[in-house]
Symmetry: C2
Subunit: 405 residues, 2 copies
């Protein structure tokens, strides 16, 4: 038998308890032993909930108990999550977390500490919720050199963009709807500004490229500038607007970004709708692969957390070699990255197209149904720096969205 | 260093050599040691190919060499693959195979033999080519009780159906095209009759449900009866025809089948096109997940084979616990499975719809553009046995396709 403690009885924490109770038998079988929750840590009381019997308010009880072999950190946020995780590892207890903020900021320190102690710090649920992506990257794609990871890593914004597209609704309206449905939080900044996706792509990129990617250095743009009008152009182009978190090798360099992209129907990410997440990976031998599923939600996230607990139970005194890289990966300058750009312009397509072509050379003009005082165009492939220089020569740019075919 | 032997220098075998050479450095790093190919076994000679230097024609050389720790079987077919794999395991050498026929028929024997010897028999490449599915099923979805696996597991037929749909071409025509492109073999029976997909779903079901599924007991229907006319109805319905290999829990029983299905746009398998494969999994906690990628092809398949080699190199004297189940899973009777059915009828919709409704109750009638002497209808949900009984009362059934929303 292995005994564990769950830190935080919120959405994910109560999911972990539920998963372990519901699938008790099959989980024991796979772990090779029963997994028992000895403590749940939470400052609150839960009268009437069976968890009350194992509820503690003081982390010291858990830290001092030599029977607790695994600590599940599902508090979220940086503190006290960081201190608690570190203390657990120092006390020889393996740690599982679903906390992307913690992993993006302190993952290197905590994985190295786990290695030193011959135990584990695992975080499958931190990226893509229930989707198995971290373990497959580390244990299945071992024959490949990964050259791209591109994901729809935030369900809230994917739901919102989907809704804007299908209903012609504007940003503020779908945000309110997402909040009413519980998909977006009262303060939705982390989702809509791309911060959440940024931390996740930083973690996945570190694992894929073997060097630590600092999330603070990833150019990050959210979806707040996307409007119902953009969706009209997308429809006309047969494309979808998706918030992508991407990193890819360009020669010896690596580029990373979070931004809205126009995605074409040939791309497997095109048809990822609603709150689903999906992670596209390209390996130099494997070619294209994609992992799809529920990127958030109580039970899917808890499922990934418990899978990590099972792995740690099976390897109680053996470090599994998970590393976010010791060396830092210097990311390529944004301005050096090439791509194509969809640009919306205030003006008259008949009168102004000539000027656009004078500046950008060959472009594809686009008119959206019902929009008369503006039009759009798509550039040929060019460096982002070059695009910005050229765009500065236009007086009436209403918006720009990058293209991902 | 770990030394390996590759049995067969065909498509996959030469891919294995290429993957190990191209990604030599990163593979060594992940395995924790260099992986060297000591022998390639093939009856043919390959003058001018560097493989010639390590080519052997007699398996005994490999079996008798204590330095060979891992044998990669990529010959395909049952014999001599089965004998060679068994002899290797008996000689204490771990085995990797991409051979679904071998695994479906002798997988239980070979995994148990590996367990007994404290070594491994791994077969990630046997299902879904390069797509990581077996390892994620066994090591990532450990918190879940799997209740459904449904896959597009054969790239040849997916390419053909896609082509029939997009070009309005008929079966024989696209088969010739697929053969010309090298997607279909000269004898395409195993693909188009569903035998290939059947073996793969048998393997995946055994792993997911923990009991051995005999592929010979899975009702299997190929795509040879699908016509260009069916595609006209599919278009009208906004659905796609896909050859699905599926198994799912129904109460305490398990149902498995391989057949063409009409798939709706809300299903993530709907947009899997071309030669790509994709495997949908539903877990009782995780919900929906899907794994997408190249289901065949030299390098994607070799990538999965080499990933297994890396895993075996890391666990040279430790059995990883892979099991296809010791007990046999008794599958549910076909006739007891419920579903909805799309049926094509020769006749006149105005005159004959009444009779259809008299037999089937409520149905949804469908007319396809350009087809005047026939029409279609979709039944409500009923048992397959009930459908067959009712359909026997119709004189002019042109075809039936099951529905998967």
């Amino acid at each position: 038998m292995v005994q564990i403690a769950v830190l935080g009885y919120g959405t994910v924490g109560s999911g972990v308890v539920e998963v372990l109770r519901t699938n008790r038998e099959s989980i024991s079988q796979r772990a090779g032993m029963p997994i028992e929750i000895k403590y749940v840590l939470d400052l609150r009381e839960f009268p009437g909930d069976p968890v009350q019997e194992i509820l503690v308010h003081d982390y010291e009880t858990i830290l001092q108990d030599p029977e607790v072999a695994i600590v599940v950190e599902v508090l979220g946020g940086i503190e006290p999550a960081h201190t608690f995780a570190k203390q657990a590892l120092e006390a020889g207890k393996s740690v599982v977390t679903s906390n992307k903020a913690l992993v993006a900021k302190y993952g290197v320190e905590l994985t190295e500490l786990a290695k030193e102690k011959g135990i584990n710090f695992l975080f499958e649920a931190s990226c893509g919720g229930g989707i198995p992506i971290i373990r497959p990257l580390l244990t299945s794609l071992t024959a490949d050199v990964i050259d791209e990871i591109t994901g729809i890593l935030n369900g809230t914004t994917n739901y919102m963009l989907d809704k804007m597209s299908s209903e012609g609704a504007d940003f503020d309206e779908v945000l309110k709807d997402a909040q009413a449905k519980g998909y977006a939080e009262a303060d939705p900044t982390a989702d809509i500004e791309g911060h959440d996706a940024c931390r996740k792509i930083a973690i996945l990129s570190s694992l894929a490229f073997g060097k630590f990617v600092d999330y603070e250095e990833i150019p990050t743009e959210g979806i707040t500038k996307i409007t119902a009008k953009d969706m009209l152009y997308a429809k006309k182009l047969g494309m979808a607007v998706k918030l992508l978190a991407t990193s890819r090798k360009v020669g010896d360099a690596v580029y990373a970004a979070v931004a809205p992209y126009l995605v074409g129907p040939q791309n497997p990410l095109y048809s990822v709708n609603d709150v689903f997440n999906s992670i596209f990976v390209h390996g130099n031998m494997l070619g294209d692969a994609m992992f799809y599923g529920s990127g958030a939600g109580k039970l899917p996230t808890a499922s990934a957390v418990v899978a990590d607990v099972v792995d740690e139970a099976k390897h109680l005194h053996e470090n599994l070699g998970v590393s976010l890289g010791m060396e830092k990966l210097e990311l390529m300058e944004n301005s050096q990255v090439t791509g194509r750009y969809f640009v919306r312009i205030r003006g008259d397509i008949q009168k102004d197209a000539g000027n656009i072509e004078k500046i950008f050379g060959e472009v594809t003009l686009v008119e959206a149904d019902g929009l008369t005082d503006e039009f759009g165009f798509i550039t040929t492939e060019m460096k982002q720096g070059e695009y910005q220089e050229k765009a500065s020569g236009l007086s009436d740019v209403l918006g720009m969205i990058r293209i991902k075919d």
